[in-house]
Subunit: 190 residues, 2 copies
Amino acid sequence: MNTTTQEPTIVNGVNVTQLLTTIELIKGQPAIAQFKFRATNQWQGGTHNRATVKDFYGALQEDDSRAAMLFDIDEPPVLLGNNRGANPVEYLLVGLSGCLTTALIAHAAARGIALRAVESRFEGDLDVQGFLGLREDVPVAYQEIRVKFKIDADISDEAKEELIAMAQKYSPVFNTVTRPVPVKVGLDRS
Amino acid sequence: MNTTTQEPTIVNGVNVTQLLTTIELIKGQPAIAQFKFRATNQWQGGTHNRATVKDFYGALQEDDSRAAMLFDIDEPPVLLGNNRGANPVEYLLVGLSGCLTTALIAHAAARGIALRAVESRFEGDLDVQGFLGLREDVPVAYQEIRVKFKIDADISDEAKEELIAMAQKYSPVFNTVTRPVPVKVGLDRS
């Protein structure tokens, strides 16, 4: 008797077979697609604080299987810190970079487009007069963020630009930054 | 001859004397307040990529003095990854947590309010049907982010809520998430 197991299709390191199976599962039961991501933060002193990422909810269950991931956050001396970690607005760029990259890779894989290398650089303008409360007319947020992608693949520049457009369309962090997202902040009185 | 050096005022680990000096310098020369923060990203394969944070521009000069800080970004297996790092939307929460905490601490220090401990938790709702391109009516972004702060200090709950309001007002990541910020993404043809 010949028992064969279908080999999964892997493109760009993404298991496209599993991706398509996941999509079919979600079409049948959309609640599988509801995720809740989390972080906690403990102030360490001055501008130094530490975030922890561990559990999340998704695919209808709590997932507490990952080891805790710790992130030190601090400012450079010119912003009153001691360089104990990247600063908060730099972490935002880290998240944006990961999200655009993953969206680009995954959607290229789903279309069967093989990529050899993807690199990108991110730069955001921040006027700290907003943070310091010195001027009401200066945004407290990033004023603009610029991104450049370098893609090594046997496709035209137009096809690369299409991938970059897809990355923006399907990246949750990109769309959280470019659109207004409600953040409800309250006091824990417990 | 008696040479005395003024001791700096430190509140919550923040050098308030340096903070006030910085504010005076910026009032005299607002260009000091213009910062550019940066990250780069290298795709590693599949949903795994790695960001690097190092140099920035601020206080009228390039600063390349920090050691490079590397951040591995990946998805959990249920989202086709291998747990090689926190995922992009979790990094966004890390940045938000650091920014609200720093804004709260710094503005409390500037007002002379001493704090013993500050902890916070963050949770964001994401429907991955948006990321997967399954439904056009589902946001690709976080739908909502909830934050709770626990503050240990000899002040009333009302004063704690005032600090939380200040944190939101002066946090660049909070205002980047809650307001639309332009992100310009292009192909590097070099």
